[in-house]
C-alpha cells in the first residue's frame, strides 16, 4: 500500500479507470440486449394496433395475429392524400418531435394508416402522438368503415403521474371512446372532446377526463383533434366508396350488434 489513494495521481487514475470500465460494461450490455428490446417494442406496437381493433392478444402472439388481421397499410401526406412510404417503420414519434423542433415543416409530415379487417368489416387504425404533462403520450384509434365511428382505442404514455395522468393507458379510460363519433350528423369533423368534470359521458362526441390528470387528458384531446383532422377527409371518403351499394349500413349494424353482444357478459 505504497500509493496514497488521495493523491492527485491516484484520484485521476481512479476516475479514468472507473469511467472506462463503467462505460464499457454499459455499452456492451446495451448492444447485446438491444435486439431483444427491439423485438419487444415491435411486438408491443402490433399488440397495440390489435388492441385498438378490440382484439385482445398476448404480446408473444401479436405478430402472427397482426399478419392475419391487418390487411393493408397506407401512408398519407399532410393533406390526407395517399403517398409513398412504409407505414410500419414510419416513426411518428420522431417526426412529431422534429416538427416541434422545426427540423421538418408540418407539410412534410407523413401519416401512417393501418387497414385491418374484423368480422368482415374494414377498420382504419390511426396512430397518434401528443404531449402529456411530463412527456410524450401516444395511442391508436380504430375507426369503422363509415369514417366517423370509433370502434376501439388504446393509449399509453412515457412518464405521466402514476395513478393520475398515467391512467390513460387503462381500459377504464380507453373503453369510453368505443362507439363515439368524430364527426357530427352533417359529416363535419368535430373530434372527441375529453371533458373535465365527467358530466358529458353521455354525449356521442365526448368522454370523461381523468380526475387529477387534467393536463394529460387535455393532451389526449389535442392529440386526437390534430391527428384525426388530417385523416378524416380520407376516412370519410374512402369508407363511403369502398362499401357502396348499401352495404355500409348492413355492415356497420352487424358490427355494432357484435360489439353489443361482446359487452353483455
Amino acid at each position: 500500500m505504497a500509493i496514497d489513494k488521495n493523491s492527485n495521481g491516484a484520484t485521476f487514475t481512479f476516475a479514468i479507470v472507473m469511467v472506462v470500465v463503467v462505460g464499457t460494461i454499459l455499452a456492451l450490455l446495451y448492444s447485446s440486449l438491444k435486439p431483444y428490446q427491439d423485438v419487444n417494442v415491435e411486438r408491443e406496437k402490433k399488440q397495440n394496433i390489435l388492441a385498438a381493433m378490440n382484439v385482445k392478444v398476448k404480446r408473444d402472439e401479436a405478430p402472427a395475429l397482426y399478419d392475419e388481421l391487418v390487411k393493408d397499410t397506407k401512408v398519407l401526406d399532410a393533406n390526407g392524400r395517399p403517398t409513398e412510404g412504409d407505414a410500419f417503420t414510419l416513426d411518428v414519434m420522431k417526426q412529431y418531435r422534429d416538427e416541434k423542433a422545426r427540423v421538418i415543416s408540418a407539410e412534410e409530415m407523413k401519416y401512417p394508416l393501418y387497414i385491418g379487417e374484423k368480422d368482415g368489416s374494414p377498420l382504419y387504425i390511426v396512430p397518434m402522438v401528443g404531449t402529456g404533462l411530463w412527456g410524450p403520450i401516444w395511442g391508436y384509434v380504430a375507426v369503422a368503415s363509415d369514417g366517423r365511428t370509433v370502434v376501439g382505442s388504446t393509449f399509453d404514455h412515457k412518464g405521466e403521474t402514476p395513478g393520475l395522468g398515467a391512467e390513460i393507458n387503462t381500459k377504464f379510460f380507453s373503453d369510453q371512446f368505443e362507439g363515439k363519433q368524430i364527426a357530427d350528423e352533417q359529416g363535419k369533423f368535430t373530434s372527441i372532446k375529453v371533458y373535465k368534470g365527467g358530466t358529458q359521458t353521455t354525449s356521442p362526441r365526448g368522454v370523461d377526463g381523468i380526475s387529477g390528470g387534467t393536463i394529460t387528458s387535455d393532451g389526449v384531446d389535442e392529440m386526437m383533434r390534430r391527428t384525426l383532422a388530417i385523416y378524416y377527409p380520407y376516412l370519410s371518403n374512402d369508407g363511403g366508396q369502398s362499401s357502396n351499394s348499401g352495404g355500409t349500413t348492413d355492415r356497420s349494424t352487424a358490427f355494432h350488434n357484435h360489439n353489443a353482444t361482446e359487452e353483455q357478459p
Partner: protein
C-alpha cells in the same frame, strides 16, 4: 492488509446481535423515512397504488443491495475527494443495468418500473447508506445494512400505498373491494364515496406524518429534547 486483520479477530457470525441490529434498526428506531426523513419524494410520488409501491420497493432493494456491496468492496480504493461522484456513478450504472435487463426480458415489469428509474437514482436513502455505511464497513454487514434499510423504506411505502389505494380508489392491487364507484354497486350504492384527496400527493405526507406520530408515541426515545 484487510485479510490479516480479518483473520486476527475472531470471525463474527452473520447473525450476531450486532448484525441483527443492522436489519432491525432501520425498521423502527432508525427508519429511513420516518426518523431520518429521507426518500420522502418517492414516498409521495408513487404510493397512489399498492402495486407501484411494491415495484418501487423491489427496485430499491436490488439497487441498494448491489450498490452497498460494490461500494464496500471498493472502499479502500475510492479517493475521498471524488467519493460522492463514484457513489453516484455506481447507483446510476446499476439502475441503467436493471432497466435494460428488464426491458429485454420482462418487458411488462420494465414498463411498470420505467417511471421510477429516475426516482431511484435520486433516492437519498441509497446515497446515504453508501456514504454512511458501505464506505466504512465490509461487504457482508453492508449487504445486511442495505437489506434492513430497503425493508424499512418498503414497509412505510406499502403502508401508505394500502391506505391511499383503499380509501382513494376503493381497491387493493387494482382489485375493487368495495364495489364499482361509477356503476354504484356494493358500498357505493349506499352513498359511500372515494376520497379524492387520497390520490393527491399531499395526502401521502399527512399519512407519513401520522405514522411518525404513532411511532413516537410508542417509542419515546425518538422524541428530541426541547
Amino acid at each position: 492488509m484487510s485479510s490479516t486483520i480479518a483473520s486476527a479477530t475472531p470471525r463474527e457470525s452473520l447473525f450476531s446481535k450486532k448484525n441483527r441490529k443492522l436489519i432491525t434498526d432501520p425498521l423502527d428506531d432508525n427508519n429511513p423515512i420516518t426518523v431520518q426523513v429521507l426518500g420522502i419524494c418517492s414516498a409521495l410520488a408513487i404510493t397512489v397504488k399498492l402495486e407501484n409501491a411494491l415495484v418501487m420497493s423491489a427496485s430499491v432493494l436490488f439497487v441498494m443491495l448491489a450498490g452497498n456491496v460494490v461500494i464496500s468492496l471498493l472502499r479502500n480504493m475510492i479517493p475521498s475527494r471524488i467519493r460522492i461522484i463514484v457513489q453516484l456513478v455506481v447507483v446510476a450504472s446499476l439502475v441503467i443495468i436493471v432497466d435494460n435487463v428488464l426491458k429485454a426480458f420482462v418487458y411488462d415489469v420494465a414498463k411498470q418500473v420505467g417511471v421510477y428509474v429516475g426516482l431511484i437514482i435520486t433516492n437519498c436513502i441509497i446515497m446515504g447508506r453508501f456514504e454512511a455505511f458501505a464506505m466504512g464497513n465490509k461487504p457482508a454487514p453492508s449487504a445486511l445494512d442495505a437489506f434492513g434499510n430497503a425493508m424499512g423504506y418498503a414497509w412505510i411505502l406499502v403502508a401508505v400505498g394500502v391506505f391511499r389505494e383503499f380509501f382513494g380508489s376503493g381497491s387493493l392491487m387494482g382489485f375493487p373491494l368495495l364495489g364499482d364507484a361509477t356503476e354504484k354497486t356494493g358500498l357505493f350504492a349506499l352513498g359511500y364515496m372515494n376520497n379524492n384527496m387520497m390520490i393527491l400527493p399531499p395526502m401521502a405526507l399527512i399519512i407519513v406524518g401520522i405514522i411518525i406520530w404513532i411511532q413516537r408515541a410508542r417509542n419515546t426515545k425518538l422524541i428530541e429534547e426541547g
